[in-house]
């Protein structure tokens, strides 16, 4: 158990990479990149977890009454999720333009840049 969350994060990252490398559709590839990114969230939060603790949000509990988990990793992850979505949008807009200019979104059929 003590390493399972880390191993799951690694598994997700590597699976995402595999999907990215073997993808036949650029939209699918961008989706795989999002999967890779979610691996980083899982890893960060697993690192910040403390057994038996609760969230460091004191709107409904008294400060100091219960142990709390690490807020720093949560702050790092939280902003990254929203920002990750917009970067995904940026990449998707490039995919749309590729589909317009090349008439395909299959990376195997893109043959403009070589050598």
């Amino acid at each position: 158990m003590t390493v399972l969350p880390y191993l799951v994060a690694v598994w997700i990252f590597l699976t995402g990479c595999y999907g990215l490398a073997t993808s036949r559709n650029l939209i699918h590839a961008v989706g795989c990149l999002a999967v890779c990114q979610s691996a980083t969230y899982v890893l960060l939060l697993a690192v910040g977890y403390r057994a038996g603790a609760t969230a460091p949000v004191y709107s409904d509990i008294k400060p100091g009454s219960r142990p709390v988990v690490d807020p720093v990793v949560q702050a790092l992850t939280l902003t990254d999720i929203v920002v990750g979505a917009t970067v995904t949008a940026l990449l998707l807009s490039l995919v749309m333009q590729i589909s317009k200019r090349h008439g395909t979104v299959d990376p195997d059929e893109l043959r403009e840049l070589r050598g």
Binding site: W11, G19, I27, S38
Partner: protein
């Protein structure tokens, strides 16, 4: 202390992520990504990160699927137009 719960949700996330890669059609992948978003939100909740869970729910449940589906629609429309022109 909350071990079984975390293990169950971790396995759900791993399964959904694997499926999101294995499903090759972007439409179906978008469906899996939506479910992956829910699973991730559950994972963030059980690791006591409700803020992060909210962030994931807000982004993953509607915005990301909408972006992907709109891209698919645009790409498909183009390809249909292309085929009609060829005829």
């Amino acid at each position: 202390m909350d071990d079984p719960l975390i293990v169950v949700v971790l396995l759900l996330v791993a399964a959904a992520a694997t499926a999101a890669v294995a499903v090759r059609d972007p439409v179906r992948q978008a469906l899996v990504l939506a479910v992956l978003g829910v699973c991730l939100a559950l994972l963030f909740t059980v690791t006591q990160a409700p803020d992060v869970g909210l962030s994931q729910l807000a982004v993953g449940s509607a915005v990301t699927p909408l972006l992907i589906m709109l891209s698919v629609r645009k790409v498909r429309r183009r390809q249909q137009d292309g085929k009609e022109k060829e005829r």
